[in-house]
């Protein structure tokens, strides 16, 4: 184990986010198939509720973080040229961060507090 336990931290993030996403997905799919929101007002109302809004924001954030760890693992396995790997990782990190900010802004704009 490294001194700062960075590998352990991302390993744990990977597992905890996986558990959260599994539970969220199963609840969301069951709920949406029992009460399908077929028109825009009903659909927007689902995500305007502060609780659904927050749980969904957390889901998107953890999905992006989970994917970041997964992509990093793939790069570590297949991209052996260190500078290339660094640049690729930087690009993916930037993209995930931008997607996270964008999703936050969009979901925040529909929440009915």
């Amino acid at each position: 184990m490294s001194l700062r336990a960075q590998g352990l931290r991302t390993w744990l993030l990977q597992r905890l986010s996986a558990v959260y996403m599994a539970i969220y997905s199963l609840v969301a799919i069951s709920w949406l198939s029992i009460n399908p929101p077929l028109d825009f007002p009903t659909w927007q109302a689902v995500f305007a509720h502060p609780l659904t809004n927050m749980f969904t924001q957390l889901f998107i954030f953890l999905l992006l973080a989970h994917a970041w760890v997964g992509v990093r693992d793939i790069f570590v396995d297949y991209v052996h040229h260190a500078p290339t790997r660094f640049i690729l990782l930087l690009l993916v990190s930037t993209m995930q961060l931008m997607l996270a900010i964008w999703s936050f802004m969009a979901l925040y704009s529909v929440v009915q507090l």
Partner: protein, 109 residues
């Protein structure tokens, strides 16, 4: 290739597939929340043949990734680490993912 290797590489491939489709799916989701016309736009995208193909593959990818992920968590907890159970669970994950995807695809189409 042993079944455990197949389940493992499919776990990785399905994850990569989800990673590449995430920006587009987020775009659709956000558009659908913004306005009536965005909602209609997202629905129109989902009706097109190539987005339909995309989400049919995505259903399999998500189911496989979820099942393989549960297997991975159990292995982390030292459950099913011996060779015969690892083979059995890999077979179960790969087969069940295909089976459940077919059921889901028939149900959504």
């Amino acid at each position: 290739m042993p079944i455990t290797a197949i389940a493992s590489i499919l776990h990785r491939l399905s994850g990569a597939f989800i990673f590449f489709t995430t920006p587009f799916l987020l775009y659709l989701f956000i558009a659908s929340l913004k306005s009536n016309s965005g909602f209609a736009l997202a629905n129109a995208w989902l009706d097109s043949w190539w987005v339909t193909l995309l989400y049919l593959i995505l259903i399999w990818a998500a189911v496989h990734h979820l099942l393989a992920g549960i297997r991975c968590l159990l292995l982390d907890l030292d459950i099913g680490v011996d060779c015969s159970s690892a083979n059995l669970s890999a077979m179960l994950v790969t087969g069940l993912a295909v089976g459940l995807s077919v059921i889901t695809i028939v149900w959504v189409l």
